[in-house]
Symmetry: C2
Subunit: 197 residues, 2 copies
Amino acid sequence: MSKGDDTRRRIVSEAAKLFNRQGFAGAAMSDLMQATGLEKGGIYRHFSSKQELAAEAFDYAWQVAWDARMDELKSIPNSVDRLKRFVGNFVDKRPAVPGGCPLLNTAIDADDGDPILRERALKALRGWRRTLNEIVTKGIERKEIRPTVDPRKLTALVISSLEGALMMSRLEKNNEALLAIQSHLESYLEEQVRFSG
Amino acid sequence: MSKGDDTRRRIVSEAAKLFNRQGFAGAAMSDLMQATGLEKGGIYRHFSSKQELAAEAFDYAWQVAWDARMDELKSIPNSVDRLKRFVGNFVDKRPAVPGGCPLLNTAIDADDGDPILRERALKALRGWRRTLNEIVTKGIERKEIRPTVDPRKLTALVISSLEGALMMSRLEKNNEALLAIQSHLESYLEEQVRFSG
């Protein structure tokens, strides 16, 4: 890795921390200069615009969050247990990029705002939906999940309730809402989703 | 109402539209000047800071959203039906202040940001929790809701899943996630919450 690549990477990871906490409009170039120790020109040598940097910073923050949520998932054979682990990871693991879920933050920031950031957030949401859909669909095929379960509805339930609970927990500064949702989803997965032949 | 009060009110309602779509940092004073047709001095005659204006704009936007969600609730005697109506109102009624839910927007915007706005969002969340808690508690007393239901957990489920689904629906530009959550909550309320003793 060249020194230029290294600098670029460092800018992206510092920008991710700033944008994820302060939002696109709220993260000032001066904050980024301070965090990286670079001049404006040193930053813009690597990125054509604040928008381009924010988009890369989002992808980086999302990847970090995603890796935490997917932790050890592949080692779990049963699809219902896999979904429970996903929920547990979301609740227990606070990713290394501070400021909450990058998808939630960017979706709210960009839904009436920057179209490029909006597109990145939508792509992340689609990838999340796809991964959970695949777990559910495979679970139905393998008779681990009831054939009456609608994969897209279950996926929407998991994503929306976790994201909403994260908003509540961050605002209330405790884990109550996240734990309430984990308990609801676990009961639901055991009682209404798991195929018990 | 004096002319000054009228102007103040007009600034708040225009500011609510701007802040709810663009966020605190993203809503520029120049946008507000354009929306109100006032000079900067004409706006700051009524408010001591952007922060004070944003806080009042949040309260206004939240009141408008709240009124839409509470529509006709009091005319419904049964507490489970009342909860279902609340969910239906959230899904069906798009409030007059555009940009999505003011609480969700401000919570995400201010969780690492402005402490005054953060406090307003927290107050709104507490009020929302309190209203739903009261419906559930009264429902248990009246034997409309099972005594095993935990009011705070049910409240967290309703709020988090609706807010998360709104984020998804606004990003996906369709109602799929909101309708999936409405369907889940309605089944849950009928099958696990309603007392059929």
